[in-house]
Assembly symmetry: C2
Homo-oligomer: 345 residues x 2
DNA sequence: GCAGAGAGTTTTAACGTTCAAAAGGGCGTC
DNA sequence: GACGCCCTTTTGAACGTTAAAACTCTCTGC
């Protein structure tokens, strides 16, 4: 492993000059720069990150707590999220450090420890829950963080976040079904305790009202996020005597339940009833008919998260031209991925 | 942020003594130890990991390349795997660093760079492919690594690995279906190019032969891992006129296809035909009837991976009592999770 | 009473980098 | 030709930790 010293000796300059060649090349005379660069390549030199971090006290690592779902309920798009997050971090020379922690306030010592030992510069939070205690705590401790997802039911959001506008997503799904001729569009939801669910539900309701479509009795709550519950709720809708011809589901899993129930009844999804899901999980393209689904823009989400976490927004907020980019609260627009399950009826 | 120096001043000892209190407490006189410990707690001291790593040249970080599936085919159990891997790493005071890299040999510079800059001590590889070039390359470069999954079709495995015995898993599924009264058990497989597929297929064949069950014409290849393909292959089996009453699928997705095809034909999974999947993905418990599936022991896999990567097995191999633990090639046994889809017929 | 052992503690030096300040060299101005 | 200035390069110190050597006691044995 070559060190700065060895490169310096090889190029016959001082150690600091080599350092400058890497960090501030404009300070060097062109011929010196070339000579140093040549030595660096020749010796295959790579700066030691630990030494650098020690000196600059910045580790360029971002902590992310890998969520555990004790109920076995998996995060079907974590895959995509992590990939995007890594990519965005790497675009700024950073990396993601994974760790586990108990949920809620019990996990706080883990976050504090990682930061205190300088294993990470800050955190990206996800799986944000209603009244999530982490945000307030991290803010109190002055530990840098950014949240994917809002802390619902707080009057003021504690700290910066990036989130996807679920209401707009569901409204778009309704509009899409309306365009393909559906007029009685149901909504498969989750229990009221979820802020996420209420957000998405409100989008469905607003779009229906805007288009003059009925909503009464057309929103069904599912106790849990399973195919069975989705099927049960769909059955409830179909049996309500309202001639439902469209279903917006709050998750792909529930949408799969809808597809199954339709199949059981001899109805054809995308023909008799249009169905949409949420998240565009890998399942969506694997079923038949493939599921129309509301896709969260993962790459963009990740880029915004990293941007907020790694740039100082107290300064940029007043001088920068872009008003939108200056804030530390960013709401992104989802995209409807249209597939067979919502084909024109 | 308290440093060693500050703690030393507070406890009125030298810096080295505080360091010893943490790393070699037996060297201190009990009363000194107590005094130092008290100061450490009082000042809420945490050792700076960068300084430590610089000195010891060990970062206690393990690199893991987050796989990208351009075809949208997701890793449904990555979730579980990462959680287990993190847990196992943390049990030894280490953490997981995520990164992205091109697949195949193009990604090698990324691995080399991470190691050369001392961002990681070594790597855990997964998504191992037939003729995977990474293993040989890393070995050549003397970069520590361990693989989850064998490099199929190599005469000798380049480097240490942990894998799950897919053959035994599928054989167990066959035995289970046999115990519940099935006598004509089909197998849904992948293309021949996959070593993984051939391993699992061989287990199905062996168990059938052992139990005196037919195999001819009962193994169907699916072109891709989709529900549609699973359904198509199931249809092929059911139409073959062999009165198939059991289906062992090489993945949960294909098994889901089998369930769908059975439903379409008015057959009841778990009653008319027993079905098993592979991986015990989150989907297995979310469908109805719930899917019997072959579960890979993630916690154990992760623990073995970390163990191999972090302990020197040249030394332990001769002195240690356990022969099994001494090798750097470990084959673990999967577990059949029985659910409704294979209930006694 | 003194060499020698040993436990406990301190001193010294180093890990590889960057920051701040100082030094060197070339050039123009008066 | 002395001076000041800018551009480039070097020097010295520091980041916080640990390994190894050195020192200081106290205890043991003869």
């Amino acid at each position: 492993m070559a060190t700065l010293k060895q490169v310096a000796a090889h190029a016959e300059v001082s150690v600091q000059t080599v350092s400058n060649a890497l960090n501030a090349p404009h300070r060097l005379r062109p011929d010196t720069l070339q000579r140093v660069t040549k030595s660096i390549e020749l010796l295959n030199y790579r700066p030691n990150r630990n030494a650098r971090s020690l000196r600059t006290s910045a580790v360029e690592l971002i902590g992310y707590c890998v969520p555990s779902w004790p109920n076995g309920q998996a995060h079907l798009v974590m895959d995509q999220f992590l990939h995007s997050l890594c990519g965005a971090a790497e675009a700024t020379g950073r990396h993601i450090l994974l760790f586990t922690a108990p949920t809620g306030v019990d996990g706080m010592p883990v976050y504090e420890d990682l930061h205190a030992r300088r294993l990470v510069d800050g955190f990206v939070l996800s799986q944000t829950e209603t009244h999530d205690p982490r945000h307030g705590w991290l803010r109190e401790e002055q530990i840098p963080f950014v949240s994917f997802g809002r802390v619902w039911k707080e009057t003021t959001q504690p700290g910066p976040f990036v989130d996807v506008d679920g209401a707009v997503g569901c409204a778009n799904a309704v509009r899409h079904l309306h365009e393909t001729g559906r007029r009685r569009i149901g909504f498969l939801s989750w229990p009221k305790t979820s802020g996420l669910a209420e957000d998405r539900l409100s989008g469905w309701r607003a779009a229906c009202q805007e288009l003059g479509l009925p909503t009464k009795g057309l929103a069904v709550r599912c106790a849990e996020d399973t195919i069975d519950e989705g099927a049960r709720a769909t059955a409830e809708l179909l049996d309500s005597g309202q001639a439902v011809d469209g279903i917006v589901a709050i998750s792909d899993i529930l949408a799969l339940g809808a597809l199954r129930e339709l199949g059981t009844r001899g109805l054809i999804a995308g023909v008799d009833v249009g169905v949409t899901g949420f998240d565009d999980s890998p399942l969506a393209s694997v079923v038949s008919p493939a599921l129309t689904s509301i896709r969260q823009p993962m790459d963009q989400i990740a880029a915004e998260l990293i941007d907020i976490l790694t740039t100082d927004h107290r300064r940029t907020s007043d001088e920068s031209a872009g008003q939108l980019r200056s804030t530390t609260e960013r709401l992104l627009q989802p995209e409807l991925v249209v597939r067979g399950s919502s084909a024109p009826g």
